[in-house]
Each structure stands twice: as C-alpha cells, then as structure tokens.
Symmetry: C2
Subunit: 204 residues, 2 copies
C-alpha cells in the first residue's frame, strides 16, 4: 500500500502510450509537484494557491504551469490519482472474505480519508470536474456498485437500496466530515446510524 506510482505518461489528450518520454529531471519535478499539491490541497482545500504548491515542491511557478497548464488540470491529476488508489483498495476489498461487510468497510475508509483530504471533497463540490476525471469517477461508481451488489447478495444490505442513494450518502458524509469537530468517535457513531439504515428491513 506504499507508493502507487502517480504518473500517467504526461499530458496527451488521449493518446495511449502517446508522445514524449519526459526528461529525467522533468519526471522528478512532476512527481514532486503532484505530491506537494496533494499535501497542500489536503490541508487548505482546493482554493490554496498554486504558488504555495510550487513553494512546497521546491520549484518555480512556471514549472508547475509547464506540467499542468491550468490549476484545474493539476486538481484533476490529483483527483485521478486519489480515485485510482481508491479503486485499488476497492478491488482488494471485493476479493475479501466478508462480502457483506466490504461495502461498510469501504465507506468507513473513504470517510476517514475525506476528513483529512479536503481535496476530494472540495473537488466533488466544484462544478467542472468532468472531462478526464469522468472515466475514473465511472470506475469508482462501478466499483461501489459491485460492493453494493455483493453486500445485498450476502443479505447484509436491504434489497431496495440503490446505488444512487449509497453515493449520495457517501458524498454527503464525506462533505460533513470536513466540519470541525468530527473526531473518530463521532465518525463511528454517525456511520453506525447510516449502516443501520442500510441493513434495516423497511418499516411500513
């Protein structure tokens, strides 16, 4: 679970193994920038300035904009990385033994992360997240759906719960988790209520 590589063969608009193989220093800087950006945005949210990212990465602003032509692009790159990792984690959980609990575990982990990473949540709230990221989001969506279905088959989640509601709940709680005062205990208690709702048989 250490260092999933966060490259993506630079900036082609879609080409697979596309154009140029980045010089060594450029590659290094790209990764530094990504790491710095993730840290900065995680702390201060997506409104943190690009200059701060540059400073933390130890490069000049120009370099940041060389690699990511707009702030949006940088944000999207981060998003893609986060979603990718999430996706991996999800696959792991899906392969696990406790099919019923997998969904719950995943939600718990994601919410826990969100509390520390304002980026994800900030981005979800922003209007234009589409484009490149869209495919990652779709992957994530499908992954969650798989977990949901498995949990339902295992009888751990009500049959009438649909993917949309799970995602709505997930994004909502993630957003809420940013609020001051969400400690581990509150998170556990709050999720317990939601989980109870997902498990509970319908009441007239």
């Amino acid at each position: 679970m250490g260092m999933t590589s966060v490259n993506s063969s630079s900036g082609g608009t879609g080409g697979p193994g596309s154009a140029k193989p980045l010089r060594a220093d450029a590659q290094r800087n790209r990764e530094r920038i990504l790491a710095a950006a993730e840290a900065v945005f995680a702390e201060k949210g997506p409104s943190a300035s690009t200059e701060e990212v540059a400073a933390r990465a130890g490069v000049a602003i120009g370099t940041v904009f060389k690699h990511f032509p707009t702030k949006q692009a940088l944000l999207q790159a981060i998003m893609k990385g986060l979603l990718g990792r999430l996706d991996g984690e999800m696959a792991e959980l899906a392969a696990d033994d406790a099919p019923g609990e997998a969904l719950f575990t995943f939600i718990d982990r994601m919410v826990e992360q969100a509390a520390r990473k304002r980026t994800v949540v900030g981005l979800l709230a922003e209007t234009g997240v589409d484009l490149q990221v869209a495919s990652s989001v779709r992957m994530l969506r499908e992954g969650i759906e798989a977990l949901l279905v498995r949990s339902q088959e295992a009888g751990a989640v009500r049959e009438d719960v649909r993917l949309d509601e799970v995602i709505a709940l997930l994004t909502g709680i993630c957003q809420g988790a940013l609020q001051a005062g969400w400690d581990d205990d509150l998170r556990r208690r709050t999720l317990a209520i939601v989980f109870a709702g997902l498990r509970a048989p319908e009441r007239h």
Copy 2:
C-alpha cells in the same frame, strides 16, 4: 409563511434597541440588499461577488458596504435570518401533534432548503462563522435537541442516538444535497435510509 421580516434594528454591536432609527429609504435599501444577497448567494454560493448583489438589489456597491461593512457581515446577516426562520419552523413543529415524526419532518425540510440555498451550507463550511451568528446556531442546536428528545420519548428514535450524530448527519446530507443530480426522489430515498437508521433497533 410569507414574509418574515428580516430586520434587526440595524448594526449595533449588542445594544438592544440601540442607536439610530434608520431613515426610510435606508431601511428599504437594507431590505432589498438582504433579499438580493440571499438570492444571489443561494444561486452561486458565498463566493459570488458583492457587486452582483448590489446590481440585483438595484443599488451601488458603496451602499452595500454602508450597511454591511464587510462581506462576512453581509453573509452573517443572511445566516442569522435563515437560522431565525428555521428556528420558528422548528418551534411550530415542536408544538405539533406527531411528536415522533417532528424530527424527521424538520430534517427533510432543512435538506430540501439546502438544495436550493448554497449559502447556508457554504457558510457552515467556511471557517469563521462564529461571532454574532454563534448564538443563533446555539438556538438551532437546542431546538434540534428538543425535537430529538421528544422523538425518543415517543419511541420513534433509538435511545442511544445523540445530538452530535444527528447534527453531523444533517450537515453532511445538506452538503451533499448541493450536488448536481439531487432531485426530490433521490432526497426522499436517501433520507429514508437515514431515518431507518435512526429508528432501527441496534443490531448486535
């Protein structure tokens, strides 16, 4: 339920019926500004510009800043009004016949509002909302607590649910409700899950 008056005897730092009784046109403008601000911020979130508010109110920017010395002050004034109205609604519900359902009704209404008013939620997410507004927030908190207790006494909500969790859930779902794609149906389904969780007896 038409027009709850949104004045508050102008801008004293605390004095009760404090200083000057506002000229007639000033009073009119103040209300126009408040209404315009509520509309603008509801649509575009708290990052909308003050100039837009002024334009919509049909006054000059200077006038806005005459009445509300900072943008924060304007935001707070709106917040205060919203919270006040919410508080009234809550009192009404508390006096109602169905003690068990009052909490659920309130949550439902608040989330519905949130979907249309980015202000509330945007503000809750901002860091410095305290100060003047704090007392209104406390009132709201107490009101929710009353509803919760009544619901529990009526046996409609699990005994072990605490105020913190309800508020966490409420803010979370409100935040989430801003997302694109939250229509009435999704809201109903999502809240149904949460309500089931609040009602459900604990599972081992």
